[in-house]
Symmetry: C2
Subunit: 370 residues, 2 copies
DNA sequence: CTTCTTGCCGAAACCGGTTTCGGAACCGAG
DNA sequence: CTCGGTTCCGAAACCGGTTTCGGCAAGAAG
C-alpha cells in the first residue's frame, strides 16, 4: 500500500465539467439532460442522471442563480421590535418551513427588523441582493406596507394571515373568526348569557375577523351584542389582566370571557384570582392559540389550538407554487383551529358572578384534547 | 413633461459592466478598485467608488461566490426535535445574529433538524451546496458530533457554549458555573445551610460546569457537598417539579434550591406549593436563564439572566473573524450572567422547613433588577 | 436517389463577478 | 539617449453553471 496522499478531506466538489469529461459529452448537454430539456434522447438522459447520482453531483445553487436569477432560497423577516418578543411558536414555525424547503433543496434566509419600516427596508435589501426568491409574511396587518413593496416589485410572496386588499395575494390562514364564533356558542351551550370578548391588536388582520366571529357567535346564540363587554389591544399577560379586570368590575359582569389570545387569557386568570373568582367555575374562559403554557396553567386553559408547524410547511409550499408561476388566486387556504377542551370553562354560575354562591359542580363535562 | 415610459419598477440591477461603461474602464479594473487591490491609483479608486455609490451598485453576492467560494451567509441549524420546542430566547438570539450579519451585508441561513444525526446531515448539505460559509452552533454538548464534522471539513464555526475538546474551537459562552457559585454563596449569606441543586441535561456542556460551580459555592461557604441534595436532567417545568418534590420530601430537606434552569425552578414552585411551602420564605429558590415568565411568576423569580441578543451578536462577530482567518484560540469569550434579585429567595427559615413556623419577615432585603 | 424534416448534440456565448498576466506609460539613473 | 524599474490599467481567462444556435446524421417524403 502506498502512503496515502494527503489532503484527502479537501475533496473538490464534482462539477458539471467533471461529468462532461467522464461521459464524453459537452457540458451544455449535461445541463440540458439534467434540466429536462426535450432535445435530449432518453438514453443519454438516463446515462447522465445515473452518472450524476453515482458521482454525487449537485449543481451549485449560486452558479445557477447568476444565470437563472433564482437563488433557491425563501425569505422570512421577523419583527423583533419591543413587544414582539414572545413568540412561543417560532421554533415550530421555522421547522415547518425548513422541512418543506429542505425537501426541495432550497434554503431559508431569515432576518430580523425592529419595526415596520425596517421590515420593508430589510426585505428590499434581500431582493436587491437577490438573496431570496420570495417571502413568507407572518402577522399580516389590515394595511400592510410589506405587501405594497412586494406587489410593486413583483416579488412572489405568501401571507400567513389575510389582509385588507387581497389583490395579488396568496395566503394561508387559520379561521380564527370561526374558532371565536364556536367559543361563544360553546359557552352559550354551557348556559352563559353574558359573554365578554377581549381582542388582540387591531392593526393585525385577525382582530376585526375575530370580533366578527364573536358577533356571529352571539347572533347564532340569540344573544345581543353589548359593546361594553368587549375590549381589544390585549396581546400580553399584563394587558389581558387589565382588560379582564375592566370587564369583571362592571356592575353586571360577564360570566364568561372569550380571548383572542392565550396570553391575554392568562392575564384574565390573574384578574379573576385577584377578585377571588375561581376560573372554570365562577368565570369561564375560552381562548385561542394553544401556547404550551395554556396546558400547565391552573386550571388548564380551554383553547383553540393552531398547528404552527403545519402552517409553516403549507406556507412554504404555496410560496414555491407562486414562485413557479401559479396565480395567487389559486393559492389561498384557510383551515380551522381545533378545540382543546380543558378546565377553564364550565357551566354558568347560578348566581350572577360575585361573592358567595353554592359550590356548584366543579366542571367536568369536557373532552380532553379533542 | 413626457408621458412616463412604463415598466419603471422593473429597474435592472446595475452591474459591474454598467459601471465600466460609464467610466470607460475595464470591468476588471472596477473590481480591483472596489476590492482594494494595490495596483489601482488613488484617483481612479475614488472615481470608481463615487460612481458606484451614485449609481447604487452592489455586487451580486452569488456571482462573487462562484469565484471566491464565499456565499456571504452564516448558517444556523436548530434542533426542533421533541423536547426542544421551548426556546423563549430564539427571537432575541436570531435578532442578535441578524443585526451583526446585516451590518456586513451578509445573510443568515437557518435550517432545522429533528435530532443529532439530522443536524449533522443538514449541516453537511449546507456546506456541500456552499450555501453557508460558517456555522453558529447553539447548545453545545460535551461531545458534539457537529464539531467533529466541521473540524474535519475545515469549515469555520463558533460555539455558543464550550465543549469537551476545545481543539480548533472558537466560542462565546456565559459563565454559568460562576452564576451558580454566586447563587449558592448568596443563599449562604442569607443563612441557608442546606442548599440543594437541580441541574439540567448532562449531555450539554453547561451541566457539569454548573455542578462544579455549585460545589465551588459550597466550598467557599464552608458547606459540605451532599450528593443527596443534587438532582439533574430537569429541563422542563414537569421535570423540575418532580426533582424538586424529591428534594423536598427528604427527611432533612434543603431550605434553598438552586436551579440550573428557570423552567425547572418554576417546577420547584409547584412542588413547594403542593406541600404548602411559601416560596421566598419557607423555601428559597435561585435560578438561571432569565426567561420572561420568571418575572411574572409569583413570587417573581430571582435568577441570573443572560443577554441572548448580545450573545447572538458576539457569536456572529466571532464567526466573521474566524471566516476571515483568525485563529480560533484568540476567539474565545466568556461573559457573566447578571443577577436579577427578586422575591423567590430570602432569609433561611428559623425552623427546619416543615409545617408551621413563625411568620417571619416576608423577605424584602433585595435589590430590584440589579 | 435527392430533398426535407426531425432528433440529437457540440460549440460558444452568456450571467456577473474575480484574478492573472502582460504591456504601455512614466520615472529616474547612467 | 538608453535602460531597468514602477505604476497603473486593459485584455482575457476563469468560476460553474444555463441557454442559444447551428449542424450532422438518420429517417421520411417525393
Amino acid at each position: 500500500m502506498a502512503i496515502a496522499q494527503h489532503k484527502p478531506a479537501l475533496k473538490r466538489r464534482v462539477t458539471i465539467n467533471d461529468l462532461a469529461d467522464e461521459l464524453g459529452l459537452a457540458k451544455g448537454t449535461i445541463s440540458r439532460a439534467l434540466n429536462g430539456y426535450p432535445d435530449i434522447s432518453a438514453s443519454t438522459r438516463v446515462r447522465v442522471t445515473k452518472a450524476a447520482e453515482r458521482m454525487g453531483y449537485q449543481p451549485l445553487a449560486q452558479a445557477q442563480a447568476i444565470r437563472t436569477g433564482l437563488a433557491r432560497s425563501l425569505g422570512l423577516v421577523l419583527n423583533a421590535g419591543p413587544g414582539n418578543t414572545h413568540k412561543p411558536f417560532l421554533t415550530d414555525f421555522l421547522d415547518g418551513i425548513s422541512r418543506a424547503v429542505s425537501k426541495e433543496n432550497w434554503s431559508l434566509t431569515v432576518a430580523t427588523a425592529m419595526d415596520e419600516a425596517d421590515e420593508v427596508a430589510t426585505m428590499a435589501r434581500l431582493v436587491n441582493e437577490r438573496k431570496v426568491d420570495g417571502f413568507i409574511l407572518p402577522r399580516t396587518k389590515v394595511v400592510d406596507p410589506r405587501i405594497d413593496l412586494l406587489r410593486e416589485r413583483h416579488v412572489p410572496f405568501v401571507l400567513y394571515g389575510r389582509t385588507g386588499d387581497p389583490t395579488d395575494c396568496a395566503w394561508f390562514d387559520i379561521a380564527g373568526e370561526a374558532a371565536i364564533r364556536d367559543a361563544v356558542m360553546r359557552l352559550h351551550g354551557l348556559g352563559h348569557r353574558r359573554i365578554g370578548f377581549i381582542n388582540g391588536a387591531s392593526v393585525y388582520n385577525y382582530a376585526p375577523l375575530r370580533l366578527q366571529g364573536y358577533k356571529e357567535g352571539l347572533a347564532k346564540s340569540d344573544l345581543p351584542f353589548d359593546p361594553a363587554l368587549t375590549r381589544s389591544e390585549a396581546i400580553t399577560v399584563g394587558q389581558g389582566e387589565r382588560k379582564g379586570g375592566e370587564l369583571l368590575q362592571l356592575q353586571n359582569p360577564p360570566t364568561a370571557i372569550v380571548c383572542a389570545l392565550d396570553l391575554a387569557a392568562l392575564g384574565v386568570y390573574r384578574a379573576a384570582q385577584m377578585r377571588g373568582l375561581d376560573v372554570g367555575h365562577d368565570l369561564s374562559v375560552v381562548s385561542y392559540d394553544g401556547i404550551p403554557e395554556a396546558a400547565t396553567a391552573s386550571p388548564p386553559l380551554t383553547t383553540f389550538a393552531v398547528d404552527t408547524r403545519a402552517a409553516g410547511s403549507r406556507l412554504a409550499s404555496l410560496l414555491f407554487a407562486r414562485i413557479r408561476g401559479a396565480a395567487p388566486e389559486g393559492l389561498r387556504e384557510t383551515v380551522s383551529a381545533h378545540l382543546i377542551a380543558r378546565g377553564s370553562d364550565g357551566p354558568a354560575p347560578t348566581k350572577p358572578t360575585g361573592g358567595f354562591e353554592t359550590p356548584s359542580n366543579k366542571n367536568q363535562p369536557k373532552g380532553e384534547n379533542t
